[in-house]
C-alpha cells in the first residue's frame, strides 16, 4: 500500500476523471463555503490532476466542504468536485493507521441497541 499513487487512489474512490474539467468555475460559483476555503473547489480538480495530494489533505477546505453537492449537481462536465473532496477525506481517514477501538473497551460500550456491524467497523484498521 505504501507507494500506491495517491492521486490515482482519489480518482478510483471518487470515480471522477479530472481531465474532463473545462475550468468553467461553476463549482466555485455555486459553493456556499467558498470564502472559508483555502483551496477553492475548482482548484481541487487541478490539485488531483497535478498529483499534489499532500496540499489537498492538509488544506482547510477538506473539512470546510459541507457536502451540499451543489457543485456536483451543476457541474456541466460530470467532474463533481464534491466527490473528489470526499475521496480525499477518505484517504486521510484510511491513512491514519490508527486503531480506533481496543478490545478492552468493548464490554463497557456494549448495550443491546448497539449494532454489531458498528463494532466490526470500529475494529477495522487502515494500516500502511
Amino acid at each position: 500500500m505504501s507507494h500506491v499513487n495517491k492521486a490515482s487512489q482519489i480518482k478510483e474512490i471518487s470515480g471522477v476523471n479530472p481531465l474532463k474539467c473545462m475550468k468553467c468555475g461553476k463549482c466555485s460559483a455555486s459553493c456556499p463555503s467558498f470564502n472559508e476555503m483555502d483551496i477553492k473547489p475548482h482548484q481541487f480538480v487541478s490539485y488531483v490532476q497535478n498529483g499534489d495530494i499532500e496540499s489537498l489533505v492538509n488544506s482547510k477546505s477538506l473539512w470546510k466542504c459541507l457536502s451540499c453537492f451543489a457543485c456536483l449537481e451543476r457541474c456541466p462536465r460530470d467532474v463533481k468536485p464534491a466527490k473528489l473532496i470526499d475521496a480525499a477525506r477518505q484517504l486521510v481517514v484510511r491513512e491514519k493507521g490508527a486503531t480506533y477501538l481496543s478490545p478492552d473497551e468493548v464490554p463497557e460500550l456494549l448495550d443491546e441497541d448497539l449494532p454489531q456491524q458498528l463494532l466490526v467497523s470500529a475494529f477495522r484498521r487502515y494500516r500502511r
Binding site: C24, A29, C31, F34, K40
Partner: protein, 662 residues
C-alpha cells in the same frame, strides 16, 4: 477462370509503416486466379493508376483487387481507371487495409497477417464477380428546399438563378426564419431585417421559385434525380388569392391572448395573424386553437370586416404531390428549453431572458418597441449580467455537449449595443472561454471590452436568486481573481444553447438521411463533402448540419445550391447495378421480400416457368432495378433463398468468409 491482378498501396507511410506491403503482394500471388501482384507508394496517383492500367492490358486481367484505403475514398477512382483500360468497373474490388488494418493496429506482424487475409477475401470475391452494367434514370429538373430561413432562401435563390425551378416548403406562415427575429447582425451591426427582407422579396418575386408557407413535407419516396414528395398545405382559412394584406382582420379580431411565436412569447397576438409586418406572403392564418369562431361557432368578425371576402372558415388542408431531382434540407434551429437549469431562475423571473428574447426586446417591432426595459415592471435596467454557455459544452446530460458557436459573438454584440445606446447601464459577461475565430470577429469582441467598457469575467454563475425587491442576486466566480462574486442585477441574459429544429428527425427519417446523436444531419464527408448527405440527392444547408452564424450559413447555402445544380444539370444518372434479382425457379411468391423493401421496388407477376421440364404459371417476385437501392433487406429475408444481390451475391459473401476463415 479469372486472371486477377493485385495492387498493394503503401499510402506513403499510412499503410507501409504498419503493414509489410511486399509480403502482402507475395502472399497474394499464391491465391487462385492471381496472375499479377505489385506494390506502389501511391496507387491512387496518376502513376499508380497507370501501373494498374498497364497490367490489365499486358496480362489480360479479368479482375483486380486494390489493397488500399476505404472504398468510400477511392473505389470510384480505381473503377474508372480500370474502365479506361477496358475492364468492367465492377470487376474491381477494394481490400481496405488502411482504416480496417494499418490505422488501428500497431504490431507489424499481426497487421500484415490481417492485410493478407483481407486481400485473400477480396480475391475470393473477384473470382466470382461478373461484369455488371449500370442502368440509367432520368433527372427531374426541379429542386425542393425544406425550410424558408436564410439558408433555404439563399439556396433557393442560387438554384433558381441557375435556371432551375425551386420550391420552398416552410412550416410557419412566413419565410424569414430565425434571422427575421434578430435585431442587428455581427460583426458589422447592420440591421437584420434590412438585409434579409430584400432577399425574402427577391425569392417571392423570382419566376423560378414557388413558396409554400404554412406547409410541411409529409411523405418522400423515390431516389436521387426522381423524388416524389407529398406536401401538406395546412389550411390558412384565408384565401391567398383574394387577401390584400390590409391587416384589418388582425386589428378587429377579439381574441388577442395567444402568445406571439415571433416575439418568443413575450407578448400576444390575435387569433388571425401574420407573424410580423414584413411577412411573406402577407397573408394571415387563423390559429384554430385561439379562434372564437372555430371554438364556439360565434364571432366571425374577421369575415365581416374583410373587404376582399378572403376569409374561408371551411378551408381544408391540401396535399400537393410534386416530383423533384434534388432535395435541400435547411430546417434550422431553435434554442433549447431551460427546464433543466433551475439555478438561473429562468422560469421564476421575467427578467431572466434568453439572448433570442433579448433580440426581440431590442427590436423596434418587438414587445417593448425597442426600449431596453425589464419585462416584469418596465423599468430601465442599470445592471445587466450575461451568462455564457448556458446548456452548451455540457456533457452531464442536462444540455448539449457541443459549443453553440454563435453565442460569444452575439453576446459581444448585445453588450456593445446596450453600452452604446444606454451608457448608464453596466454590462457584465461571465464566460468560460471567449471563442471568436472569424474575419473581424476577435476585433469585434475586443471593441466591446476596450471601447465600450463591457466587464468580462472569466468564470461561471452558480445561481441567480430573485430578490423580494425585484432585483436578481447573481452568485458567480471570478477565476482569475479567485473570488466569489455576489452581484445585484436588474436583468440576466442567458446565452442559451441552440439545437436543430426538433422536426428534423421526422424529415431525416423520410429522406433516409443520417443524423447524429445531437440531431444534426450528417454530412457525407466532414471535410471533402460537407454539404452532401450520404443519401444521394439530399443536400444540407445551414444549422441543420451544425451550429453556424449567418455568413457561414449563406456560404454553405450557396455550396448546397451548387451541388444541387450539378445534379439537376444532368439529363440522366447512372443507376447502381448492384440491385436485387429473384431466381424464378426458387421464388415461391410469398411476398416476404416485398413487405421488407423500403423502396417499394418489388412487385409480383404471374409468369410461366420451366422447372426441370415442368411448365407451370407461378407468382414470382420482380425487382424494379430503377427503384432498388441494393440494401439487401430482401436477400436476407427470403425464406427460399431466391433473392440475391448482384455484385454481392450470397455465394460471393460466403466465399469471402471462407477465405478469411481458411
Amino acid at each position: 477462370m479469372q486472371r486477377i491482378g493485385v495492387f498493394v498501396c503503401h499510402c506513403g507511410s499510412n499503410i507501409a509503416a504498419t503493414v509489410d506491403v511486399k509480403k502482402v503482394a507475395e502472399m497474394a500471388l499464391l491465391e487462385p486466379g492471381v496472375v499479377h501482384a505489385e506494390d506502389y507508394q501511391y496507387m491512387c496517383s496518376e502513376a499508380g493508376q497507370a501501373k494498374i492500367q498497364a497490367a490489365i492490358k499486358e496480362k489480360n486481367l479479368t479482375g483486380i483487387v486494390v489493397c488500399s484505403c476505404s472504398p468510400r475514398m477511392h473505389e470510384n477512382t480505381f473503377r474508372s481507371a480500370a474502365e479506361k483500360a477496358g475492364l468492367n468497373p465492377y470487376m474491381v474490388e477494394i481490400a481496405n487495409i488502411r482504416e480496417h488494418c494499418s490505422w488501428i493496429h500497431k504490431n507489424v506482424e499481426e497487421a500484415t497477417e490481417k492485410a493478407v487475409i483481407l486481400a485473400r477475401a477480396a480475391i475470393a470475391k473477384v473470382n466470382l464477380n461478373a461484369p455488371l452494367k449500370p442502368g440509367e434514370s432520368l433527372v427531374t429538373k426541379r429542386a425542393l428546399v425544406i425550410g424558408g430561413g436564410i439558408a433555404g432562401i439563399q439556396t433557393a435563390l442560387d438554384i433558381a438563378d441557375a435556371g432551375y425551378e425551386v420550391d420552398i416548403v416552410e412550416k410557419t406562415p412566413s419565410i424569414g426564419g430565425r434571422m427575421s427575429q434578430l435585431d442587428k447582425t455581427f460583426p458589422t451591426l447592420d440591421c437584420s431585417a434590412c438585409i434579409l427582407t430584400p432577399k425574402m422579396v427577391e425569392a417571392a418575386a423570382h419566376e423560378k421559385i414557388t413558396i409554400y408557407t404554412y406547409s410541411e413535407v409529409e411523405k418522400v419516396s423515390g431516389f436521387v434525380g426522381d423524388f416524389t414528395v407529398d406536401i401538406r398545405k395546412k389550411a390558412r382559412f384565408v384565401d391567398a388569392g383574394k387577401c390584400t394584406g390590409c391587416g384589418v382582420c388582425q386589428e378587429k379580431c377579439p381574441s388577442k391572448k395567444s402568445l406571439s411565436e415571433f416575439n418568443r412569447g413575450l407578448n400576444t397576438r390575435s387569433a388571425i395573424y401574420t407573424p410580423f409586418a414584413q411577412a411573406i406572403p402577407n397573408v394571415p392564418v387563423i390559429d384554430t386553437e385561439a379562434c372564437i369562431k372555430m371554438k364556439t361557432g360565434k364571432c366571425g368578425i374577421c369575415s365581416k370586416v374583410c373587404q376582399a371576402g378572403a376569409i374561408d372558415y371551411e378551408q381544408k388542408d391540401e396535399i400537393l404531390t410534386q416530383k423533384y431531382g434534388a432535395i435541400v434540407v435547411a430546417t434550422g434551429f431553435d434554442t433549447i428549453k431551460l427546464d433543466n437549469y433551475d439555478e438561473y431562475a429562468y422560469n421564476q423571473s421575467k427578467d431572466v431572458i434568453t439572448s433570442l428574447e433579448l433580440e426581440r426586446v431590442m427590436n423596434a417591432a418587438g414587445p417593448t418597441k425597442g426600449h431596453l426595459e425589464r419585462l416584469s415592471d418596465g423599468k430601465h435596467p442599470k445592471e445587466m449580467v450575461f451568462i455564457q454557455c448556458v446548456g452548451s459544452r455540457c456533457s452531464d446530460g442536462r444540455g448539449k455537449s457541443y459549443c453553440s458557436k454563435i453565442c460569444c459573438m452575439y453576446t459581444a454584440k448585445h453588450a456593445m449595443l446596450i453600452r452604446d445606446k444606454y451608457p448608464d447601464v453596466n454590462v457584465t459577461v461571465f464566460y468560460i472561454d471567449v471563442r471568436t475565430p472569424g474575419k473581424n470577429f476577435d476585433e469585434f469582441y475586443r471593441r466591446a471590452v476596450e471601447d465600450y467598457g463591457v466587464n468580462y469575467i472569466k468564470g461561471q454563475v452558480g445561481k441567480v436568486i430573485p430578490q423580494p425587491d425585484g432585483k436578481l442576486l447573481v452568485q458567480g466566480v471570478d477565476l482569475l481573481d479567485n473570488k466569489q462574486i455576489l452581484k445585484e442585477a436588474d436583468m440576466v441574459v442567458l446565452a442559451t444553447a441552440i439545437e436543430p429544429n426538433p422536426d428534423v428527425r421526422k424529415i431525416a427519417t423520410m429522406l433516409t438521411a443520417s443524423i447524429d446523436t445531437n440531431n444534426f444531419l450528417t454530412e457525407s464527408h466532414a471535410k471533402l463533402r460537407p454539404v452532401e448527405s450520404p443519401t444521394a440527392g439530399v443536400f444540407l444547408s445551414g444549422v441543420c448540419q451544425g451550429p453556424k452564424d449567418i455568413p457561414e450559413t449563406v456560404a454553405q447555402a450557396g455550396a448546397a445550391a451548387v451541388k444541387a445544380i450539378g445534379l439537376l444539370a444532368k439529363d440522366k444518372l447512372m443507376t447502381n447495378p448492384c440491385t436485387a434479382k429473384a431466381d424464378e425457379l426458387m421464388c415461391n411468391g410469398c411476398s416476404t421480400c416485398a413487405n421488407v423493401c423500403p423502396y417499394g421496388a418489388i412487385t409480383y407477376e404471374e409468369k410461366e416457368v420451366n422447372d426441370h421440364g415442368i411448365r407451370e404459371t407461378r407468382r414470382i417476385a420482380v425487382v424494379n432495378s430503377a427503384l432498388c437501392q441494393g440494401c439487401g433487406a430482401c436477400t436476407v429475408t427470403c425464406p427460399s433463398g431466391a433473392m440475391d444481390l448482384q455484385g454481392f451475391s450470397n455465394r460471393q459473401i460466403i466465399a469471402e468468409v471462407d477465405a478469411i476463415c481458411r
